[in-house]
């Protein structure tokens, strides 16, 4: 208060780190012996991945009848899981692109991590619509190619838009991730002791020398990619929501869907980054980089997007009543009171009520609360997609065709299996790649700014210790 309205920003990197210690902290994880838990986690993930392959094989062999779908409810867990995984992926792009454009320095601690999550989550997501087509051997019909009758795909179909949106999203995310990795690959190339590893990292580093003539174009490319990825991520979930909104099913046919889906995607994605980050920072000792301030900032975003989603739930209800359309009104009242009311209230409590703990600073800065709530939010967001997909289909216009949908064991195990795919990749990423953007973290150190030094270019004399960490009551 005595600082006359001037709020001192907490340092982005805690501890007295130098450029060298940052390199060592992150790059040496790759060199250090692999912790025992990694092998256990990797083994379990591999088993689940095997399970996924079994389930997909069984599905392709037998047909989509092995799922719990029926004539009334033709979209079930597959679509729910697709939207859920894609949504999770969006936080990665938000953190890497949108926060970059807004010059949020704190993103550097988590962006590499979140981008990796995006890529693996989109891989998990992509499986579901692909196998949902039933006859996977003619999946090329979704590509812009004439089929055996010289017919082209229907470019007016939201499902086809989805193909373009998700595949573009995956490609651009991969490019963005790789561009960010190039300077860090060079760091590993210059650092690892094994000759083979140095050769491999060197190949991926593409001959990077860190010259400013390279950085100049690199920075431009990075900014342009951020500028391209930002509208892209919004378009992807908008198009995913079109899968629903362009149809005429009550409860789906609403214009609020695109912004509501995007907010929900960011909400669940941030929660997923949080869950993964809290584990990784502890195990790999990265608390100086992924600080409690980062967790607090992410919790604020979870709170904000949680309320955006909550607003959408309430607004949907209001508009259903205000529209005066019988079917629309029924769809929404039925969601809250009908056969799927249990799912609706799980969704409401996880997504709208649970994040309110984050109004309190103590809760936002508590690791345990953050971790538990991040899991709760992801459960809630899964149920949101369940409520949207299933309730609207199960009871539509004709009471005679109403049905109740339950998944089969194949549905459940396929979903469980995608976690195997996700974590197999994620663990490989933690093991072999720098999990924090080394060059970018160095950029946010105070020493990176030439103005930090005195006229002679020497380090300034450090101020008294007390000013170093103004609010470290973490």
């Amino acid at each position: 208060m005595s600082n006359s309205g001037y709020v001192k920003e907490a340092p982005l990197v805690k501890g007295n780190h130098t450029f060298g210690s940052i390199t060592a902290l992150i790059a040496d994880i790759v060199e250090k012996p692999t912790p025992f838990w990694w092998y256990i986690a990797f083994g379990v993930s591999n088993l689940l991945l095997g399970l996924l392959f079994l389930m997909l094989g069984y599905l392709i062999w037998e047909g989509t009848g092995v799922w719990g779908l029926n004539n009334t409810v033709a979209w079930g867990w597959a679509i729910i899981n697709f939207v859920w995984w894609v949504g999770i992926g969006h936080a990665g792009t938000l953190i890497s692109a949108v926060l970059y454009l807004f010059r949020q320095g704190w993103r550097t601690a988590i962006n590499r991590f979140a981008e990796a999550m995006t890529i693996f989550a989109v891989m998990c997501a992509g499986i579901f619509p692909a196998v949902h087509v039933g006859r996977i051997w003619v999946i090329y019909w979704v590509f812009p190619l004439p089929n055996q009758m010289q017919m082209w795909p229907n470019f007016q179909s939201p499902l086809l838009w989805d193909v373009f949106a998700v595949s573009t999203y995956f490609t651009v995310s991969l490019l963005f991730w790789y561009v960010g990795l190039v300077p860090d690959f060079a760091t590993l190339r210059d650092r690892v002791k094994s000759k083979l590893a140095a050769k491999l990292y060197g190949a991926f580093a593409l001959g990077w020398t860190g010259g400013n003539r390279q950085w100049q174009h690199y920075e431009k490319a990075y900014m342009l990619l951020a500028g391209l990825a930002t509208p892209l991520v919004l378009s992807v979930h908008t198009i995913v929501s079109f899968d629903f909104a362009v149809s005429i099913i009550p409860g789906w046919h609403t214009t609020i869907f695109p912004p509501y889906f995007v907010a929900g995607a960011i909400f669940s994605g941030f929660a997923m980054v949080m869950s993964l980050m809290i584990i990784a920072r502890k195990i790999y000792g990265l608390e100086d980089i992924m600080t409690i301030d980062h967790i607090e900032k992410m919790n604020i975003i979870i709170l904000v997007t949680g309320w955006m989603v909550g607003f959408a739930y309430i607004m949907e209800f209001f508009i259903a009543w205000y529209s005066g359309v019988e079917y629309e009104k029924f769809a929404f009242v039925n969601r809250a009171t009908g056969p799927y009311a249990w799912a609706y209230w799980i969704m409401m409590s996880c997504n709208v009520i649970a994040p309110n703990f984050f109004w309190f600073r103590k809760m936002r800065r508590s690791i345990a609360v953050s971790f538990i709530l991040s899991i709760v939010v992801n459960i809630g967001m899964w149920f949101e997609r369940f409520v949207i997909t299933v309730t609207s289909l199960a009871q539509d216009f004709l009471p005679g065709s109403w049905a109740y949908y339950s998944p089969t064991w194949v549905d459940v195990l396929t979903y469980v299996g995608t976690f195997g795919l996700f974590f197999t990749h994620f663990l490989l990423f933690l093991r072999f790649l720098p999990m924090v953007a080394i060059a970018e973290v160095k950029m946010v150190l105070p020493q990176a700014d030439p103005h930090y030094y005195d006229e002679e270019g020497n380090e300034p004399v450090p101020e008294t210790e007390t000013t170093n960490e103004p609010n470290s009551n973490a």
Binding site: F155, W161, T168, G207, N212, L224, I239, K442
Partner: protein, 184 residues
């Protein structure tokens, strides 16, 4: 490696001066630029704000490469859809026009972004002359720390202003902590 043997038989590629921090590098880069050298570069573990001006670099042309590809993606995406649905095999879908432009917006947009992103990445690599199998600077043992915590200026012998003694003397006056010759 066998740097001893190498040094005798190959010619000098550049003079490499080492600096301790970004401020010293920036100062040196300004001096090198002002002295009139053109074939030089300032190497650092991370991009340094203001270095482009210090080195006197022109703005990157990458934006134009990306824009041209964006336009190709836009026009190509739209043309593909219009052509496929109204010329190659017109199909009546719910009585809508064959060339139903509003419905083509999503795919057109995605293809615009896709081509722009490819242009941004591969255009950047093209402008940076990457990928490269080897670079002469990698022959320097010290240069390995450019991706860690050291800062370097290299002046190539190809530079018109280069002279072995004068350039060395000049670099010594820029606050370098260490200067070496790097062989090709």
């Amino acid at each position: 490696m066998s740097s001893q043997v190498k040094e005798q038989e190959s010619k000098v590629f550049a003079l490499l001066a080492e600096y301790d921090n970004p401020a010293k590098l920036m100062k040196a880069a300004k001096l090198v630029n002002r002295a009139g050298y053109t074939k030089f570069d300032a190497h650092s573990p991370f991009p340094i704000h203001g270095m482009d001006d210090a080195m006197g670099l022109k703005e990157s042309k990458l934006g134009w490469i990306v824009l041209s590809h964006a336009l190709v993606g836009f026009a190509g995406g739209l043309a593909l859809q219009v052509w496929a649905s109204s010329i190659a095999y017109p199909i009546n879908i719910g009585g809508r026009p064959f060339a139903n432009i509003p419905a083509y917006v999503p795919v057109t947009f995605e293809l615009t972004i896709l081509l722009s992103a490819f242009a941004a990445v591969f255009g950047m690599l093209f402008l940076n002359n990457l990928p490269k199998h080897h670079h002469s600077l990698f022959n320097s043992e010290n240069f390995q720390r450019v991706t860690d915590d050291k800062f370097f200026i290299c002046i190539e012998t190809e530079d018109g202003m280069y002279s072995e003694e004068e350039t060395m003397k000049f670099l010594e006056g820029t606050g370098a902590s260490h200067i070496e010759q790097v062989y090709e």
